[in-house]
Amino acid sequence: MSETTTNGTGPAAGGLGVMPLSSARSLELVPKADGPQSAKDFKSDQEVRWCPGCGDYAILAAVQSFMPELGLARENVVFVSGIGCSSRFPYYMNTYGMHSIHGRAPAIATGLAASRRDLSVWVVTGDGDALSIGGNHLIHALRRNVNLKILLFNNRIYGLTKGQYSPTSEIGKITKSTPMGSLDAPFNPLSLALGAEASFVARTIDSDRKHLQSVLRAAAEHEGTALVEIYQNCNIFNDGAFDTLKDKVSAQEAVIRLEHGAPIRFGAPAEDGLGAKGVVRDRATGDLRVIDVTVEGTDEVLVHDARAASPTTAFALTRLADADTLHHTPIGVLRDVSRPVYDTQMADQLDQAVQQQGAGDLGALLAGNDTWTVAG
C-alpha cells in the first residue's frame, strides 16, 4: 500500500499538503480540477437505494450535474450527512464523504471545515435531522458562519422511520404517531435560520432543476454558512406535499420567485408582463402583504434586496407563506450577506500568534519560566 509519512517536527510540516494562506476567499483555497468534469465524475459506484419516485433522485442528479460547474478537485469535496433518507446522499457522490449520526452532521462538518480550509464541505440533512434532533447544531453552525453549505431536504415527514410527523409537519397532520392529528406547531426553517443569524438563506424545490442549481451556485459562492432548504417530495409517506408549488396553474399564485434587485411580483402576468400580484410593505405595521398590482401601484412593490444588512425584511418574506396551503411561498435567495467567516478568522488567529510570538518552540513551552536544576 502506498503511504506518506508525516513529519514529526511539528504540524506546520504535516502531511496535509501546503496549508492555504488565511484571509483568502474560501473557494479560492480549494484546488481546481485538472481538466473538465462531467456529472458522471461525481457518481459513485454505489446503487442508489431511495424509493422509486423519491424527490431525492432529482436533487442528487441536480447536484451531480452542478458540481462540474465549480470545477473543484473532486478529492477536495466532502459531503457529510446525518441520519434519514436524505442522509444517504454522500454514498452516491464520488467525493470524500461521511454518513454520520442523527443530527450531528453540522458539528462534524464544522470541525472538518475549520481545520481544512482547502476543502469544499457540504452537509446534507433533512427536516428531522436538522430541526429536531440536530436543531442545536444547526443554529450554532449558522451563527458561527463556518464555511459550510447545508442542504436541508424538507419533506415534512419522517421517511426512514416510516411516517411519523416531523418538526415541519402542519398542525393536525394524521400520521402513525398522531392518529388524532399532530399537536405541534411547525418550524419555518428559513425564519429559524434568519433568527440564528444566518448569512445565507435560500429555498428551492426538488423538481425545478434550473432553480435548484441557481441556488446551489449562489450558495457555493457565498462566504460562510449557507442554508438551502429544498422542498422534497416523499412519495411514500407524504406524497404531494408540495404539489401546490409544482402544478403550473396553482404555482402562479403560490410561488413567489425572488430575485435580487427585482420587484417582488408573482401570479398571472399583468399588462407590464410581470406578475399581477406584488409584495408591499404595510405603512402602518411595517409588515409585508400581498396586493393586486395596479399600474399606479407598481412603485410601491418591494424590490428584493438579498444583501440588506438587516434580516427583518427577509424574515417578513419567510412569514408570507401559509404553513397549511403553502400559498405565497417565496423561493430563491432570501439573504446573502457578508460577515466574518469562522474558519477564516480561526486561521488568522493562528497566523497572528505566529507573527506576534514566533512559531511554537516545544522545548521552551515545556520548560516554562519557573524551573530548578538538580545536578548529577
Partner: protein
C-alpha cells in the same frame, strides 16, 4: 510549644537516586538573631478561608516557592462548586493543602501540621482533620459574634478552651494588613483583599521560603494595576516581617531540599491538567499532525481548554462548541481531515458523547477523549475527585464498541499518558479514552522536564494511493483493508486524489467499506474491531515486590491500583513494609487492553487487594476476566485515600500478618506524633 518534631533518620531515601541541588538564596531580609530555627523533614500546611479569600492563589504561590526551593511536594486543592458561596459559611470554605519534604513523597498528606484559618467557617470545617498539637493560625479579626453564629459556634473557640490541645496563633491579619497599607491610598475594601498575601508572607517566613518569585509573580499578575501589585507586595513583606518581629512566632523551620529524591535534570512544578495539555501539544509536534480540540466547558476539565487555547502558535485549533456532542463531533470531523483530534470533558460529558464515540469506533478514526473524572452520578460533586467512570469508559456505548482506556497515575504522569493515548489512537485508528480525575487535574508535583528528542516518535502514515487490485487489473482504494499486524485501516484524508471514499456508522463490508447488512460480515467486523483493540501492544505491568512471591516466606498479598490512587497506595505500601509487612504492589496504566502479563501476576498471589475511589469497578473487570477473587477496598468521599487508612485496610483485607507487632502499625499512623516520635511519612 510545637508538634513539628524532626526525626533523625529518614527511611524513605532511595539510595539509588542521588544528586546535589543548587539552592536559590532565601530572600526576604536578614533574620534576627535569637529566634530559633529547627529542621524538619516534612510539613503539611493547609490554607483555608472563604471562597473569596484567595486561598487557591495563596496555596499556588506557596507551592511555587517550595518547588523552586527544591523540596518534593504534592498538593490538594479543595474548593466548593459554587463560584462565590455565601461568605462566611461552611459550604463557602475553600482550602489548599500542601505537603513538602526533604525526601521523596507521594501524597498531599493525611493530616495538616499547620492550619491557616482565615475565618471561623474555615476553622470549623477543618479543625477535625488536625491532630492534637498541630499549629493553628487564625485571623482573629474575622471572629466576630455574627461570623461565629453563622457557623454555629455558641462561643468563640478561641476563648472557650476547645483549642487547648493545639498550638494556636491568634493574629489580627486584616488589621495588620490594613495598617501596612495605610499610606497606599487604596480603598479599605481593596486593601483588605491583600490579607491573603500577608498570611503568605508570614508562612514564607516560618518555613524559610524564597520570596523573589512571588514578588515577581505579583508584579506580572497586576501589571496593569501597579498600585494593586505594590499593595500586595507590601502586605506580603509585612507578613514576613511580622513573623520576624512578633514574639508569638518564636521558631521558624527549615525543610531542606529533597536532593536525593530527584534524579538529575531540570524541574518545574506542574498540575495534572497542565501536564495533560502539554502532552497533547507534544503529541501534535511529534506526530506532525495539527492539534484540534473540540470542547465544552465543564469542571474539572476546562483548564485544558483554557491552556490549549493559548498555544495557537503551535497550530493548535481550539473550538468551544455549543454542547458536548458538538465538541466531540467537531473533533471527529477534524480527525477525518487528518488532525490529531481531542475532546476534553468530565463524566457527564462522556455520557453525552457516547454515541459519537461509537461512531468513531465504527469509522475507525483516531480520537482522544479525555475524561477528568469527578464525583457522580449526574452532576454529583463537580469539584471533587472519583474514579467511577471506568465502566462507563469500558462499556458506555450501544453495541460491541471496544475502546482502549489509559489512566495516568500522578499529576506529572498526565503528560506521558497523553502521549501514550495519542500513540494508540493514531497507530490503531481508534478512539481512546484517557481517564484522569479531579485530584490529578488540580494537584501538582515536581516534574523533570523532558528533552523534546526523548519524546516518542509519533509520526503517522497517511494512505496515498490505491491498495487493492481488481480482477481486471485496475487499482482501487479500499478504506477497510487492514494492516495485518495492527488491524488498523488506512487513514486516507480528503485532498488525496484517487482515494475518494465514503464512511459511515452503518455496518460496512470488510475491505471495501461498502454498506453491508450481511450477517456473517457483521459477525466478522464485530470480532475484528474487538481483536484490534485486544491486540494493542501495551507494556507489561511491573510488580514491585522486594521479597518475591515464591517460597514459604514469599509475599502473599498484592495491592493493585489504577489511576490517581498511585500516590496513596504507594505511601501505604511503604508504611506496611516499614512495619515488617510483605506486600507487593502493581499499578495499571492500561485498563483496556490489560497488559498481557496481568493474569499471571494476579495468580501469583494468594490475596489481591484493589483500592478504588468507586464501588469496585476495576475489581469487577478483573474478576470477570481472570476469575480471580480480588478483594475491593472502596471509598467515594470525593477525596483521595489517606495513606494511613489505606495501610490499615490493606493489612486487614490483604491478611498482611507478618507485621512486626500490632502496635507497630499504629506507630505509623497519626498517633506517632503524640509520642514525639515523628516517623517519616509519605
Amino acid at each position: 510549644m510545637t508538634s513539628q518534631v524532626s526525626s533523625p533518620i529518614d527511611e524513605e531515601h532511595d539510595p539509588a537516586v542521588a544528586g546535589t541541588r543548587e539552592v536559590p538564596g532565601t530572600a526576604g531580609g536578614q533574620r534576627a538573631p535569637g529566634k530559633e530555627t529547627r529542621r524538619l523533614e516534612r510539613v503539611i500546611i493547609r490554607f483555608a478561608g472563604d471562597s473569596g479569600d484567595g486561598m487557591q492563589l495563596t496555596g499556588d504561590r506557596f507551592t511555587s516557592e517550595t518547588a523552586s526551593f527544591g523540596n518534593d511536594l504534592s498538593t490538594l486543592p479543595n474548593f466548593p462548586a459554587e463560584i462565590r458561596a455565601p461568605a462566611g459559611t461552611l459550604p463557602g470554605v475553600s482550602s489548599f493543602q500542601l505537603h513538602f519534604a526533604d525526601h521523596d513523597i507521594l501524597t498531599p498528606g493525611d493530616a495538616p501540621d499547620v492550619l491557616v484559618a482565615m475565618n471561623p467557617a474555615a476553622l470549623k470545617a477543618n479543625i477535625a482533620d488536625l491532630p492534637r498539637g498541630a499549629e493553628v493560625i487564625v485571623n482573629t479579626d474575622e471572629f466576630t459574634k455574627r461570623a461565629l453564629q453563622k457557623v454555629g459556634y455558641p462561643a468563640s473557640p478561641l476563648e472557650d478552651g476547645s483549642l487547648d490541645g493545639y498550638s494556636v496563633h491568634q493574629v489580627p491579619l486584616t488589621t495588620l494588613t490594613l495598617e501596612a497599607l495605610k499610606g497606599s491610598g487604596l480603598a479599605r475594601r481593596d486593601a483588605e483583599r491583600a490579607k491573603n498575601m500577608f498570611a503568605l508572607g508570614l508562612l514564607s517566613w516560618m518555613y524559610h521560603r524564597p520570596t523573589e518569585s512571588t514578588e515577581a509573580f505579583l508584579r506580572t499578575k497586576f501589571a496593569r494595576k501597579p498600585e494593586i501589585a505594590e499593595a500586595n507586595i507590601t502586605a506580603y513583606r509585612a507578613g514576613w516581617n511580622f513573623g520576624e518581629t512578633t514574639e508569638d512566632f518564636a521558631v521558624s523551620y527549615e525543610v531542606a531540599p529533597a536532593a536525593a529524591a530527584f534524579p538529575p535534570g531540570t524541574y518545574r512544578n506542574i498540575s495534572g491538567n497542565l501536564a495533560l495539555a502539554y502532552g497533547l501539544v507534544s503529541a501534535s509536534v511529534r506526530s506532525g499532525l495539527p492539534l484540534f480540540l473540540g470542547s465544552y466547558p465543564i469542571t474539572p476539565a476546562s483548564d485544558i481548554l483554557h491552556e490549549l487555547s493559548r498555544h495557537k502558535r503551535f497550530g493548535v485549533r481550539t473550538f468551544q462548541a455549543e454542547d458536548e456532542i458538538a465538541a466531540i463531533g467537531a473533533a471527529l470531523g477534524a480527525a477525518f481531515g487528518g488532525s490529531l483530534a481531542v475532546t476534553t470533558t468530565s463524566g457527564p460529558g462522556v455520557a453525552l458523547k457516547s454515541e459519537t464515540i461509537g461512531l468513531a469506533v465504527s469509522l475507525e478514526l483516531p480520537l482522544l477523549v479525555v475524561d477528568i473524572q469527578r464525583g457522580g452520578p449526574s452532576t454529583g460533586l463537580p469539584t471533587k475527585t472519583e474514579q467511577a467512570d471506568l465502566l462507563q469508559a469500558m462499556h458506555g456505548r450501544n453495541g460491541e464498541a471496544p475502546v482502549p482506556v489509559v489512566a495516568p497515575a500522578t499529576p506529572a504522569d498526565c503528560f506521558d499518558a497523553a502521549l501514550e493515548a495519542a500513540r494508540i489512537a493514531t497507530v490503531y485508528r481508534t478512539p481512546v479514552i484517557l481517564l484522569s480525575d479531579g485530584y490529578l487535574a488540580n494537584g501538582s508535583e515536581p516534574w523533570r522536564i523532558p528533552e523534546v528528542s526523548e519524546l516518542p516518535d509519533l509520526r503517522v502514515r497517511f494512505a496515498s494511493g490505491p491498495n487493492h487490485t481488481k480482477a481486471d487489473g485496475t487499482q482501487e482504494f479500499w478504506p477497510y483493508l487492514r494492516d495485518p499486524e495492527t488491524l488498523a485501516r488506512p487513514w486516507a484524508v480528503p485532498g488525496t486524489p484517487g482515494l475518494e471514499h465514503r464512511i459511515g456508522g452503518i455496518e460496512k463490508q470488510d475491505g471495501t467499506g461498502n454498506i453491508s447488512y450481511d450477517p456473517a460480515n457483521h459477525d466478522l467486523m464485530v470480532r475484528t474491531r474487538q481483536a484490534k483493540v485486544d491486540g494493542i501492544a501495551v507494556p507489561d505491568v511491573v510488580v514491585d515486590d522486594p521479597d518475591g512471591p515464591d517460597g514459604p516466606d514469599g509475599t502473599r498479598t498484592l495491592v493493585l491500583g489504577w489511576g490517581s490512587t498511585y500516590g496513596p497506595i504507594t505511601a501505604a505500601v511503604r508504611r506496611l513494609r516499614r512495619a515488617g509487612g510483605k506486600v507487593a504492589q502493581a499499578h495499571l496504566r492500561h485498563l483496556n487492553p490489560f497488559p498481557a502479563n496481568l493474569g499471571r501476576v494476579l495468580s501469583g498471589y494468594e490475596r489481591v487487594v484493589v483500592p478504588e475511589m468507586n464501588l469496585g469497578q476495576l475489581a469487577q473487570m478483573l474478576r470477570a476476566k481472570y476469575l480471580v477473587d480480588v478483594v475491593s477496598y472502596n471509598q467515594v468521599t470525593g477525596l483521595p485515600f489517606k495513606a494511613e487508612q489505606l495501610a490499615r485496610a490493606i493489612a486487614e483485607l490483604g491478611g498482611v500478618s507478618d507485621l512486626d507487632a500490632a502496635g507497630e502499625l499504629d506507630a505509623l499512623g497519626e498517633q506517632g506524633r503524640s509520642k514525639g516520635q515523628e516517623r517519616t511519612d509519605v
